[in-house]
């Protein structure tokens, strides 16, 4: 478990992070969302020890992270980069060895990973000769080649074609399934929505929302419900505590003053005939995001 506690950071007189605290749980895919300049990259750099915070700490399972622990992190910086004139496989082996792998396991991991990311045929090419998308895959490989126990990925999906997005999503999900805490930032809210278990929203250097995706949705849900039944739904207008927003024969959208009122509608509907759908309208991540940072 990765704990960020009370982290504050200023550049000169400009405070870029104010008392940032959140947790990345074991096996939790945690989406880190915020506008440009909100402080995502600075936070990630502090987690990796590339920058040091003015105050606050980063903890692993309750103890402050040391330089040695950081070798167990897989990091993909926002600013992408590998040695352009070095061969892909060689470069990955080098990075794995810097993280402490033996030459043999460094080579084995490199081969496995390149295969999984569909770069096997490019292992002997220099990075500069790869297409942009393949360079991006190589970059992801660089973050994963040493079997990291924590993943911190700054915009891992930017620049990837849809196919590569799927590949990378499944690789990351695989890590999370093994119990690895994964923190990733993205501007592509639809991907975050599909992928993340937990969500951290940052704006102007402050954490504005933080929690499981479902809890956040719950929290930001409007009391609006949709219902589709076999018969006409006009009767809902006369239910107590209910305001109908939209109505179209067998379909209606309504707001309920209380949970009990909405449940009463469902009960009533069932007594009248088949109910095809009944659901609370869930806000999309984009909606929550706009609400939270406003």
């Amino acid at each position: 478990m990765l704990d960020i506690r009370g982290v504050t950071k200023s550049y000169g007189t400009r405070e870029v992070l104010t008392d940032v605290s959140f947790t990345v749980g074991d096996g939790r895919m945690t989406g880190f969302v915020g506008a440009n300049g909100a402080g995502k990259t600075t936070t990630m750099r502090i987690i990796l020890g590339v920058l040091s915070p003015d105050t606050g700490t980063v903890l692993i399972d309750g103890t402050p992270v040391t330089a040695n622990d950081r070798r167990r992190f897989g990091y993909m910086p926002e600013e992408r980069g590998l040695y352009p004139k070095m061969k892909v496989a060689e470069q990955l082996v080098y990075l794995a060895r810097l993280h402490g792998l033996s030459p043999a396991s460094a080579r084995r991991n490199t081969d496995d990973l390149l295969e999984r990311l569909g770069l096997g045929a490019r292992a002997g090419d220099t990075v500069e000769s790869l297409s942009l998308g393949n360079q991006q895959r190589a970059q992801i490989a660089a973050a994963l080649v040493h079997d990291p126990e924590f993943l911190v990925l700054d915009e891992p999906f930017s620049g990837l074609d849809p196919l590569a997005v799927e590949v990378v999503m499944s690789v990351l999900a695989g890590y999370a399934a093994q119990g690895t805490p994964v923190l990733f930032s993205s501007h592509q809210l639809d991907i975050v929505e599909r992928l993340c278990d937990d969500l951290v929203i940052i704006a102007d250097g402050e954490i504005r929302a933080n929690g499981s995706r479902e809890a956040l949705r719950e929290q930001h849900s409007s009391p609006r419900f949709e219902i589709r039944t076999a018969g006409d739904t006009g009767w809902i207008r006369s239910e107590p505590g209910i305001t109908v927003i939209d109505f179209d024969g067998d379909f209606a959208v309504f707001e309920a003053e209380t949970d009990a009122a909405s449940q009463a509608v469902l009960h009533h509907a069932i007594t009248l005939g088949a109910v095809h759908t009944f659901s609370q309208q869930r806000p999309s991540l984009a909606t929550i995001f706009k609400e939270v940072i406003a």
């Binding site: 750099r45 590339v50 040695y83 402490g100 126990e149």
Partner: protein, 369 residues
């Protein structure tokens, strides 16, 4: 979950440094331009030894025409290529058509001291006259241990090799620092190993390469001198070459740290030149000093203790026999200490400037964070 995986022990500082320096060396050895430049430098060193030996062997004797009894005087000197002529007229003809530089004929006048007359075309032939003249006895109080011209050549040789190696590898290390910064891989590296290990690895890798180059040049020159039969020269230059290599090893580490630190303040290859120019200036100073002041013992003595110029100044003094045995040791200590100080300051600049992209980082910012 960490139990299901092999636990990777973090490499030690030394291991990280070694990995980084290995990469630097491999990258250098793969670069064609580096291999070609090194080849040319080695070729020039060997060529200079061979050419030097050829020139010294082919020193041709001055040709003189000799008539009659004058031959006994001329032969004594063993300094001339003699062409015998029957008459003075014949000899004069040879002088006129340039076959000989001068003619030596029996003197007409009875009170001539040497009994010979030298005939030349348009001016008195100094070398012929010098050889045939009678000189007073000469007593030299403090004989110079080395011939002045040779000393000049050796001094310039050290100067050039230092300048070339230091600038070549200095520029290489500067480019490699900026390459990492420009391609942004530096952030991955910084998140993996300490900035000091990264700097130390770069300095070590490039210093090893530079040192290897210096040692190869030293060996090639020594072998060249031995093979071409200039053993006397080898015995004279040998110790100076060894000291040069030792001083170079420390001196280059100092320069490499400076190159790395100054280069880290910029983000683009185009700016490397201007950022590192102060260091280049420091490297050029010993070269020009040694060219202009190689016969000035005071300047050489100062040079041999100033860290930047000691790698050139001290070996030259050792070659000239001017240095006491303890002087190179003391100078080496001064150099080693200043190298340590420079590395400390350099690594501070380096770690503060590495993540600053875009505009050039000012020295003050880099030092104070």
């Amino acid at each position: 979950m960490s139990t299901t995986r092999p636990v990777h022990t973090a490499p030690t500082f030394a291991q990280s440094v070694w990995l980084v320096s290995n990469r630097e060396i491999t990258a250098r050895l793969r670069s064609k331009s580096f291999l070609i430049a090194t080849g040319i430098l080695l070729l020039i060193s060997v060529a200079s030894v061979i050419v030097g030996s050829l020139v010294s062997q082919n020193e041709s004797l001055t040709k003189v025409a000799v008539v009659g009894t004058a031959i006994s005087v001329v032969e004594q000197t063993e300094a001339f290529d003699i062409v015998e002529s029957d008459t003075v007229t014949d000899a004069e003809a040879l002088v006129r058509d340039g076959t000989v530089d001068a003619a030596v004929v029996p003197s007409d006048s009875a009170d001539s001291l040497l009994g010979i007359t030298v005939i030349a075309l348009d001016s008195a032939p100094i070398d012929v006259l010098g050889t045939l003249s009678v000189s007073p006895d000469v007593k030299i109080l403090e004989p110079a241990s080395q011939d002045g011209f040779l000393a000049y050549l050796v001094a310039i040789g050290f100067g050039i090799i230092f300048l070339m190696s230091a600038t070549t590898f200095g520029a290489t290390i500067a480019q490699s620092v900026v390459e990492e910064k420009q391609t942004r891989i530096v952030e991955i590296l910084m998140s993996t190993i300490s900035v000091r290990a990264l700097l130390a690895g770069k300095v070590l890798g490039n210093s090893l390469m530079a040192f290897g180059q210096i040692v190869s040049i030293g060996l090639l020159v020594s072998i060249g001198l031995a093979v071409t039969g200039q053993r006397v020269l080898l015995a004279d230059v040998g110790p100076a070459i060894v000291w040069f290599a030792v001083f170079f090893a420390f001196g280059f580490v100092l320069l490499a740290a400076l190159y790395a630190a100054t280069a880290s303040m910029v983000s683009r290859q185009e700016d490397v030149g201007s950022a590192t120019s102060p260091v280049l200036f420091l490297v050029m100073i010993p070269y020009f000093m040694v060219v202009f002041f190689n016969d000035n013992p005071l300047v050489l003595a100062i040079m041999s203790y100033v860290p930047f110029s000691a790698p050139v100044g001290m070996p030259v003094r050792i070659f000239l026999g001017d240095a006491e045995w303890w002087e190179p040791v003391l100078s080496l200590i001064v150099l080693a200490l200043s190298t340590m100080v420079v590395i400390l300051i350099g690594s501070r600049i380096y770690s503060n400037a590495l993540l600053r992209m875009g505009a050039r980082v000012s020295l003050r910012e880099a030092l104070h964070k």
